[in-house]
């Protein structure tokens, strides 16, 4: 079983979300990057863009596949990990740390509670993950 930190929340599309003083940092899970294989390109929105929960905000491309990235919560993008432009492989090396993708200022605090807990996400992955 992949690493699933207990202090994060998760989506069924394999993104993680971390509360940081009212803001939400977003990336993809260790399981997701394992399934994708070597990540070669990450396409992210610009700072100031609006994202909507459960809708695509970007694209991750690996040697095996191209997948949409889904927003865990709605809100405005306040930070983007520009380093992924030069070093997309960071997503594989450190998915919960330097491989983060966005920081969102959420527009609806209640959406956080609808996200999966670590235990729920582990169970979801154990059942096949989709």
């Amino acid at each position: 079983m992949s690493n699933v930190p207990a202090d994060l929340r998760y989506t069924r599309e394999h993104e993680w979300a971390r509360q940081e003083g009212g803001r939400v940092r977003v990336g993809i899970t260790a399981y997701a990057q394992e399934q994708l294989g070597d990540v070669v390109f990450v396409e992210l929105p610009k700072v100031g863009a609006k994202v909507t929960a459960h809708q695509a905000f970007g694209v991750v491309e690996s040697v095996k596949a191209v997948s949409d990235l889904f927003a865990p919560v709605s809100g405005e993008v306040v930070e983007v990990n520009a380093e992924l432009g030069q070093k997309p492989e960071t997503v594989n090396a450190d998915p919960y740390g330097k491989g983060w993708m966005l920081v969102v200022a959420p527009s609806d605090a209640n959406q956080w509670n609808a996200l999966l807990t670590a235990a729920q996400y582990e169970e979801f992955v154990a059942q096949g993950g989709h």
Binding site: F41, E43, E61, V66
Partner: protein, 447 residues
Amino acid sequence: MRYLPNTAQNQRAMLETIGVRGIEDLLVKIPAKARLSRPLALPPALAESELVRHLRGLAAKNADAESTVCFLGGGAYDHYTPSPINHLILRGEFFTAYTPYQPEASQGTLRTIYEYQTMIAELTGMDVANASIYDGASSLAEAALMAHAVTSRPEIVLAGGVNSLYRRVVETYVDGAGLRLREAPTPEGVLDLDAARRVVGGKTAALVVQSPNFYGCLEDVAAAAEIAHAAGALLVVVSDPVNLGVLEAPGRQGADIVVGEGQGLGVPLSFGGPYLGVFAAKQEFVRRMPGRLVGATVDLDGARGFALTLQTREQHIRRAKATSNICTNVALCALMATIYLATLGKQGLVRVGELSAAKAHYAAARLGAVPGVSLRFAQPFFKEFTLKLPKSPERVVARLAKQGILAGLPLKSLDRKHGDCLLVAVTEKRTKDEIDAFADALAKAVA
């Protein structure tokens, strides 16, 4: 694929193998009324020598740039095609319009595309050029879509000096994408910069200027770049690469995307096509660039090789998310341009530009001195200029055509405001005698 002839004996053997008596038996599923019940009404077959004579006779009815003196322009130009081009493109390894479906198996083809991309990038002053697309107009349309994809903004502002045929193609392309086109006024032959500043704004994805523009006039590309960039928009420049031996590269004047018609680079006029769509961009936009990109790499042994490095993934997967559907390039025309540039070299391309410009300025002086005729715009121009005529340009053109002179392009059908104008282009091929004869014939035609 080869044409495989078969004899009556071959046919019998094949029919026997599949167990039918005759070819008729293969056609029984087609309703009788949909079938031709008599032999095709074809004339008797000609011997090869007769057929060649017949076809030559038909071809001779055309007026082409070889049998006339051509001052036509407006996007396609009668530049000289050096003889190595035809010699080389007819080689079996090259003589196909297609990039091979297993591209890496055709290292020679990829190499020529790589060289083409490199030359175009250097000429335009951009970081990357793609393997080419259909023609100048479709290149511009793709640039409009790309600017929209990069900026997420809904408007494209076209300077009034952009070829109006290109404008129509852009209109068709951007309709489905929900983009709006606006025009930045070009009252006196060049973009009105103050007016452009008012039209270009927060909704503008790109400002498009053509230089030299459709009227032949040189635009202030650097000023246009400032206007576009101040509004957060991209600058798209339409440029004829054959001029860039002399004119400053658009990339060094602030262009974000450079497109253009590459026909002048040794591709014959061919009555309108196939031509060569040039497309180059800054490195930061490479992932949004339409078409395909050949890159250099090394194989397992460390030897240099070439690969299709990038092609929009949406061509193969995720088609619903595609921002461009261009899946091919005009490899043979791109090859012609590559051979052209390699044959002429740095000095040769400069000479082509210098000769074209010098002869165009001589022609403008001669033609502009014809009583009643004047240069329509008091602007710097390169190899093409707009004349105002005292008589219908269509009639003048028809009259001169009878004397073997293709006098130029009457603007009426393309640009109503300039219905009394004739667009005249002069390449390095025109001689002083030809230009003098044109001026004399024009003087008689408008007298």
